[in-house]
Assembly symmetry: C2
Homo-oligomer: 129 residues x 2
Amino acid sequence: MKIGELSKKSGCSIQTIRFYEKQDLFEACNRSEGNYRIYDASSLRALRFIKQCRSLDLTIIEIKQLLDTKNNPDKSCSSVNNLIHQHMVDVTHRIAELEELKATLSEMASACTDDRKVKECGVLQLLEE
Amino acid sequence: MKIGELSKKSGCSIQTIRFYEKQDLFEACNRSEGNYRIYDASSLRALRFIKQCRSLDLTIIEIKQLLDTKNNPDKSCSSVNNLIHQHMVDVTHRIAELEELKATLSEMASACTDDRKVKECGVLQLLEE
DNA sequence: GTAAAGTCTATACCTAGTATAGAGTCAACA
DNA sequence: TGTTGACTCTATACTAGGTATAGACTTTAC
């Protein structure tokens, strides 16, 4: 199949597929006579794996590490587990930050609920502090 | 005061201050004979306002809009209130996304809690799906 | 034969800065 | 007076993960 079909089947845009290839995340594939990229079912599986990882917000570098690990089936998988665990810690931390931000924004919003003039705006006054 | 002092007093790095100036977020100031930027107390106030806004995760464009609004003290402040409100909605939305991600990661982590071989790793198996 | 759709590479752009190189300025000290 | 060191200047490149374009080429359909 050509890149357009792979794009539709995988849900990744054509540019993204080419981008992953350039990042060495996705193997450069065979080319047709006219220099078109030609993919098969295994390309689709590989791309779906990458997409799954990205949906977990793993970075491209981390995904490369995972792929590298996958190529050593007899090694320990602890690095994989650690990666996921560390990500969970990071996400938890980020949620806490955003909760704090939300509280600040909420406080801010309640400083000026009605329609005033700019010079009397409670929100702007809080921002000045 | 020179940029180094402003940097220390504001907590913004020197590069960031120059970056804000280039983005027209922060007014280009007077220069000394030797072409050094010279700031005063009002520069510090302006920079602190920007920093406060950035800590709320407002974009540079949004901050520009706020500054523009601030220059019209007799206009309505509703755009300011809307901005803060919309941001709260966005942050709430982002938190929900991250909570979902966290749940997925947690499920994933529990698929392989012990130290196995890569080919038996529960996490990698889930990632293949 | 030709038009439209698809693909190719290369490049620029996005956010909000950060990091660097290479040059100039200024104050203090010998 | 010379020089050292700290500070500042501009310009440029880089970060992450793509997205968007231009201009050329290939393939398909009528």
